[in-house]
Amino acid sequence: MRVKFLMMAGVAILAGFALHAGCGGGGEQRGRAGVRSDVQEAALKSYVAPGDLDEYYVFKSGGHSGQVYIYGIPSMRHIATIPVFTPYPATGYGFDKESKEMLGGFTWGDAHHPAISETNGDYDGRWLFISDNANNRMARVDLRDFKTKQILGPLPNVSGNHCSSFVTENTEYVLAGSRFSIPLPKGTYESAEDYATKFKGVVAGIAVDKNTGEMALGWEVLMPPFNYDLGDAGKGPSADWGFWTCYNSERATGLTDKFEVSSAQKDRDYVIAVNWKNAEKAIADGKFKTLAGVKVIDPKDAEGVVYLLPAAKSPHGVDVSPDGNYIIASGKLQSITTAFNFEKMLTAIQNRDFTGQEDGIPVLNYDAVKDAEVNVGLGPLHTQFDDKGFAYTSLFVESAVAKWRLGTWEVVDKIPISYNIGHLTAAEGDTKSPDGKYLIALNKLSHGRHLSVGPSQPEASQLIDISGEKMSLLYDAFTEPEPHYAQIIKADKLNPIEVYPKEENKNPHAIWDVKDARVERNGKNVEVYMIAVRSSMTPWQIEVNKGDKVTVYLTNIEQTTDELHGFGLNEYNINVVVDPGETKTIEFVADKTGVYPFYCTNFCSALHQEMQGYLLVKG
């Protein structure tokens, strides 16, 4: 009896321990485990056999790396990097005269949002635009040869070009704007105490030449000192409009409290709607001021150009639905994404249904313009679309993607991601005719999902199958810092060249015959006409005097795919790579005496090691 009691007490205590151990201090671990068949399914769907090609290109912005990364879908293989804002020895970018001039002395950029050019609201595969948040520039990459062809900027009056680059339906404009309001014009000093009145933002349209893609500043609209965050251009019925989100409509500073607190006090900020046709008209009618040499519209002087739609607290992404009828804005500090109805917006404007104004800009009546507040989940940021009427919203706080239906506004599925998703991109998911099929979650954190590489972690991209009713995870890939947005384009929309045809090379210094290779001296200027072709660089030697300015015109006369040549010059910090049929200019001052070898840096052939020569500098 006694023994029995003691045993019972003992068992009770042991049971306590067991309960504790069994609970592991909490609930089930979630995440990795899937059943075998799902894994096999995912493997098959994302496997591209050796020698086979991917179905889609993905262009990912490289964030503060300043570049653009190209991946293939569904394999998620990194195929190439396009240098845009940052020198890149791998392709010699930023070392030759032409690209150096384009970089304008900056050695980095913050490449944020890529935008493929569009015709009738669909990708036409001609150009890729990408914004620079750091130095207020806009770049254009030509998708015929995947090279950066133009960098416009720093754009006057634009400060922190984050809410960019989004193209209008026929690439009339690429949108731009200020994430950080400042006193204007640039160079003006004002005390931060006067932030609310003396600081200004702008939203802008960069005009694109229909034939050449050449960019030039079109129009700017002077805006209150908010932080203009993301944007999108209208489509179809809303094609004449550009939309931006903003945070800090409080006009707060970090002087009184932490900025993260002071700028997040109001329950609503705004979506800014700009009618760019009316902006053009205002400029044509002379309703503008010239500020830093740019035509800037002050909304007070030009009615009908800009309106404000109240949107849930500190909205981040704004995305226009494929049919152009809905403007979806996500309040990153709430759990809703708001669907504004474009028709209702027009009606409210017509009826002058305003609830206030900000620096002369009418604020539309929220209840009159919104169709729905969709309970997507915590920390919604961005939305993409598929071909079946569904929208996909990234949830940063929740680390998930929510799938919901346009029109009925019901959330039908959710998939957890690893971890903290920022942007997401669906196959052609921001065009008039999305493909569905694939979605990539562009995640900010990746810890534990890859072999550890120390404290500096890569970003994670996860490929998700959206062809079925339920989303399913197919593949994890990793990227150098830091893709913000990406766009996915069907591979057959691009038709890249693989060599520069000789007849297209218009460089006046190009030579095509080894006989023409030479060194020309003109006082202290030495010009070298050089040819690179398997497996020699001609001339083999360049004799100069110390202090001479040396210009090398280097032409790769190959007309064969993959036959690139490089020009690396020992201890002169120069590496240029020329593609087949391309001419580049290398400029330097021979300021060190001695003999310096130059050689081909880009492996080319069996006698690649022999492809070398000498720079001889006399004292």
Binding site: G26, R30, V261, E398
Partner: protein, 213 residues
């Protein structure tokens, strides 16, 4: 009625026999681990933290789970600042100042009972200990209530005031929060269980007292 009072008096006057005293000594020894193991554990799971953020509450300190790359207490405090929750600091918990001493006092009192061998002293100890246990739980609950209700009104993310669970599960924003007693508490529970067992073991002595009575 008088009969019952007499019975009770008799019971309280019952001497405790040797086995019971040994059992009380065992209970004292089993209180020692409460100085080394956490009494309570909260674990916060989310997609980003599949392994969970762990908060361990000892009788004398607050400690987050630590791994080579993370201190969970710091992480929890960083996350809490978004909803305007006060930082969890050891200094805010007066409990850490007195609980270890109370446990020490209980051990001394238990030794006293083992030496004096009086049932009345044993009853005193059980009652005192239960009061201490319940008071500690209430005090812990009250702290949690205050943390969840005194949210900074200027916080960037507004959440409705809440009380984190003292035991069980609760969903807060993107976190699944589990709160459960930990090893230390199980050792602590041994004390009243063993003390009651000690009473039970001395029932022969009580019978003798009753027979004499």
């Amino acid at each position: 009625m008088q009969k019952y009072i007499d019975k009770l008096n008799q019971f309280l006057e019952t001497p405790i026999d040797l086995r019971s005293r040994v059992l009380i000594l065992v209970a004292v020894v089993l209180l020692l681990p409460t100085y080394f193991f956490p009494l309570w554990r909260m674990t916060l799971y989310s997609n980003q933290f599949p392994e969970g953020l762990v908060l361990k509450i000892y009788s004398f300190k607050l400690e987050g789970g630590k791994s080579a790359y993370r201190d969970d207490l710091r992480e929890i405090n960083t996350l809490n600042h978004y909803i305007g929750m006060r930082e969890l600091h050891e200094d805010d918990f007066t409990e850490f100042k007195w609980i270890p001493f109370v446990v020490g006092g209980v051990m001394l009192l238990a030794l006293r009972v083992a030496v004096l061998g009086k049932m009345s002293a044993l009853v005193d100890l059980v009652v005192l200990f239960c009061y201490f246990g319940l008071f500690s739980l209430w005090s812990f609950y009250h702290k949690l209530y205050l943390y969840g209700h005194e949210l900074d009104p200027t916080a960037a993310v507004k959440v409705a005031p809440f009380t984190p669970p003292i035991i069980g599960h609760h969903t807060l924003a993107n976190f699944e929060v589990y709160s459960l007693p930990d090893v230390g508490t199980y050792f602590m529970i041994c004390l009243p269980v063993l003390l009651v067992a000690a009473m039970w073991l001395s029932r022969q002595s009580w019978r003798k007292v009753q027979a004499v009575g």
